[in-house]
């Protein structure tokens, strides 16, 4: 007898966490990133073992270790995080896994809170890793369990591609979906040719990977998680993910084929479907991924006109695509843009940089808002950690007068994520004019909702653990001028400190340290609890 069904209203992120719990996942790890952050937080709240890694690459490597040892792992990140984790991803596809390894990539079409809207379905193809795409919270739950099953059946990692609207929408989830075989007790089994990717072992490993993908493709054709909606044969629509929901509403009478496992694709099923209807559209968000595949297979389908290539889809946009409407879309009325909170310790830093007319190589976090008025004090933002390298590059080639205006600005969590290697570069290849690195340490990963990181000395669950000292690290790397200042209490001193650093032809690291206003209360509480515990 199966356990009684429980119905709950939950977000896609919460549904993934619940499925991870029900699948007895041994370890969840990742790096915070909208819209993926809540998965691990919720997993921990439910009683799962979850931890933040310094970045996505390390998280995936830890996940690989768990699965090599026979355990089940879930690794979460936003879409751009998978760029960071790409190196291990491409090779764990070759090595395969022992216990389940599910990698969640939370894409952000429309860039609600991201620097690009890359479509990570391309990563599935490039790395040769199967990918599931849920369309609501129920599927987020079901597909997480299915991903575990596929991962263990074919002994390979599986990507679960969520998108912002699936992660953050709340829809009804009925659990349990279907039974997952119990997790094994982790144990080390030596299997050198499978796990050690020297060329002699990697060549057969690549052949094994292709054979597995061929098997999964055949399985997907017949047993894959496809949804078929019968309707009027005049119009057929092939779709996946959240687009399915918009399609059902925009074209309630159409025949629909929704693909659940979008790599490797069920090409036969898609082509047959396209032939079975008078007109066949492919409706998808992001890259023309499905449409290119179906066309390459010889089927006649219509995709989106170029004007619908960027941004999220919605019901009205799908209606327009189906109607061939190429008239300009109405521009939304702009709302109030976000801004640095009143009293935010970062504010004074950007006022100073603005007043000193600095060229600011910025980074990813709340402080990116330093680009907007009244500060207008940020000149570049590329990706996590880029502030250091980009600042150095500019210093290398700008005329001396301008080179001396360049500073790199990075937040505490971003510094740990990928600024440390930049600092190593700064010491190793210093510009002639020296350089100034400002680490804005507000004691939390504020942008994504106040997560801990290795610099806070607390775990994901806010328990005390090892703490990285930025000042000790900078000194140990050989930076001569390292200063720590509270920007709110000592603004004048901070200004002098930055002026002096800009004036000297040496390397300086200035750490502005004061807790984020939104986190300060909680941080005090954690510290007090810890003292009591001692």
């Amino acid at each position: 007898m199966s356990p009684p069904e429980i119905r709950q209203l939950m977000s896609g992120d919460e549904a993934v966490a619940l499925a991870a719990l029900h699948a007895s996942v041994h370890l969840g790890t990742g790096y915070p990133g909208t819209p993926s952050t809540e998965i691990l937080e919720h997993f921990e709240t439910l009683g799962g073992r979850a931890q933040w890694a310094p970045n996505e690459k390390v998280a995936l490597e830890v996940g690989i270790g768990v699965s090599f040892a026979g355990g089940r792992a879930i690794v979460t990140m936003k879409h751009v995080g998978l760029n960071v984790a790409a190196d291990p991803l491409f090779t764990v596809a070759y090595t395969g896994v022992e216990g389940a390894l599910v990698v969640v990539s939370a894409d952000d079409p429309g860039m609600a809170s991201s620097q690009n809207e890359q479509d990570n379905r391309r990563f599935a193809v490039a790395a040769g890793v199967p990918m599931l795409e849920p369309a609501d919270s129920q599927e987020a739950y079901d597909f997480t369990l299915l991903a575990m099953e596929i991962s263990e059946r074919w002994r390979m990692p599986v990507l679960l591609r969520m998108t912002t609207r699936v992660c953050h929408s709340k829809t009804i989830v009925a659990t349990p979906g279907y039974p997952v075989p119990p997790a094994r007790v982790p144990a080390f089994v030596r299997s050198v040719p499978e796990r050690v990717m020297i060329p002699a072992y990697a060549r057969p490993a690549h052949l094994r990977l292709r054979a597995k993908l061929a098997e999964i493709e055949a399985w997907n054709e017949h047993k894959g998680p496809m949804v078929r909606v019968d309707g009027d044969r005049k119009l057929g629509i092939i779709t996946s993910g959240i687009s399915y929901q918009h399609v059902r509403e925009a074209a309630p009478d159409a025949c629909v084929l929704k693909i659940g496992l979008t790599y490797p694709l069920p090409m036969e099923a898609m082509c047959k479907f396209a032939e079975s209807v008078e007109r066949c559209f492919v409706i998808e968000e992001g890259d023309p991924f499905l449409v290119e595949a179906v066309r390459a297979a010889g089927a006649k389908v219509q995709g989106r006109p170029a004007m619908y290539r960027c941004g999220e889809l919605n019901v009205n946009r799908v209606r327009r695509i189906l109607a061939g409407d190429l008239s300009p879309e109405a521009k939304p009325v702009p709302g109030k843009p976000p801004e640095l909170c009143p009293g935010c310790p970062h504010r004074i830093v950007f006022e100073i940089l603005r007043d000193l007319d600095c060229i600011v190589a910025g980074d990813i976090g709340c402080y990116t808002l330093g680009v907007l008025p009244p500060f207008s004090a940020m000149d570049t933002v590329v990706c996590m950690g880029a502030s250091v390298g980009v600042g150095l590059g500019m210093r290398h080639v700008l005329p001396e007068k301008d080179a001396r205006r360049v500073v790199s600005v990075i937040g505490d969590s971003t510094f740990v994520h990928s600024g440390i290697t930049g600092l190593v570069e700064m010491v190793y290849n210093p510009p002639k004019t020296g350089h100034v690195l400002l680490i804005l340490d507000n004691g939390t990963t504020a942008m994504t909702g106040l997560q801990e990181h290795p610099g806070t000395g607390r775990t994901l669950g806010h328990q005390p653990t090892g703490q990285i000292s930025f000042e000790a690290l900078a000194s140990a790397l050989g930076v001569k001028h390292v200063t720590v200042l509270d920007p709110t209490l000592r603004p004048a001193e901070l200004r002098t400190c930055i002026e002096e650093a800009l004036a000297r032809q040496e390397l300086s690291v200035i750490i502005t340290r004061r807790n984020c206003l939104l986190a300060a209360g909680a941080i005090k509480r954690y510290e007090k609890n810890h003292e009591k515990g001692n």
């Binding site: 809170s113 912002t164 709340k170 059902r248 019901v315 939304p332 009325v333 709302g335 801004e339």
Partner: protein, 156 residues
């Protein structure tokens, strides 16, 4: 009841937009309806414009309210009504912060729940579901103020 009721709740970061939409979605859920709710987190937390969509009925597909099809636009900030006006359908109703007498609220932060009370006047959802959803989504010390706010909003 119409097939699907679409509600957009708007405001500025920190005003309780997401809490209000959580409560509304829970009311529909407790009433046994199909329900979806959707919003954008992230940058919206820094005091900028925030909206949250709630849709409920017999069967709901897209979690996002299509422009020009909202039955109700609730706004916690008067400035946000103009920003979101286009989402309302021809017969749609806008409910702004002036729909309730704020001086009657025992806790100013419960304006979001008071506006849900104002919305409740137009919806056929059982009082018991409202009450249960409000109690379930807020800590106990806020129960009284918010049940009061709901009543203030509902009595108009």
């Amino acid at each position: 009841m119409k097939k699907v009721i679409s509600v957009v709740i708007a405001g500025l970061g920190g005003q309780g937009v997401l809490k209000a939409s959580d409560i509304l979605a829970d009311v529909a859920f407790r009433t046994g309806l199909a329900v979806k709710k959707s919003e954008i987190h992230g940058m919206s937390q820094r005091g900028g414009s925030v909206t949250s969509d709630v849709r409920f009925g017999r069967e709901v597909f897209s979690p996002m309210v299509p422009e020009g099809e909202a039955d109700f636009l609730i706004s916690l900030a008067s400035s946000e009504i103009a920003v979101n006006r286009a989402v309302l359908g021809p017969a749609g109703i806008a409910i702004g912060p002036d729909a309730v007498d704020e001086s009657k609220l025992t806790n100013k932060k419960s304006l979001n729940v008071a506006l849900l009370g104002a919305l409740a006047r137009h919806l056929d959802l059982p009082e018991e579901s409202w009450r249960a959803a409000i109690l379930a989504s807020l800590p106990e010390k806020l129960h009284e103020a918010n049940l009061h706010a709901f009543a203030v909003g509902k009595s108009g």
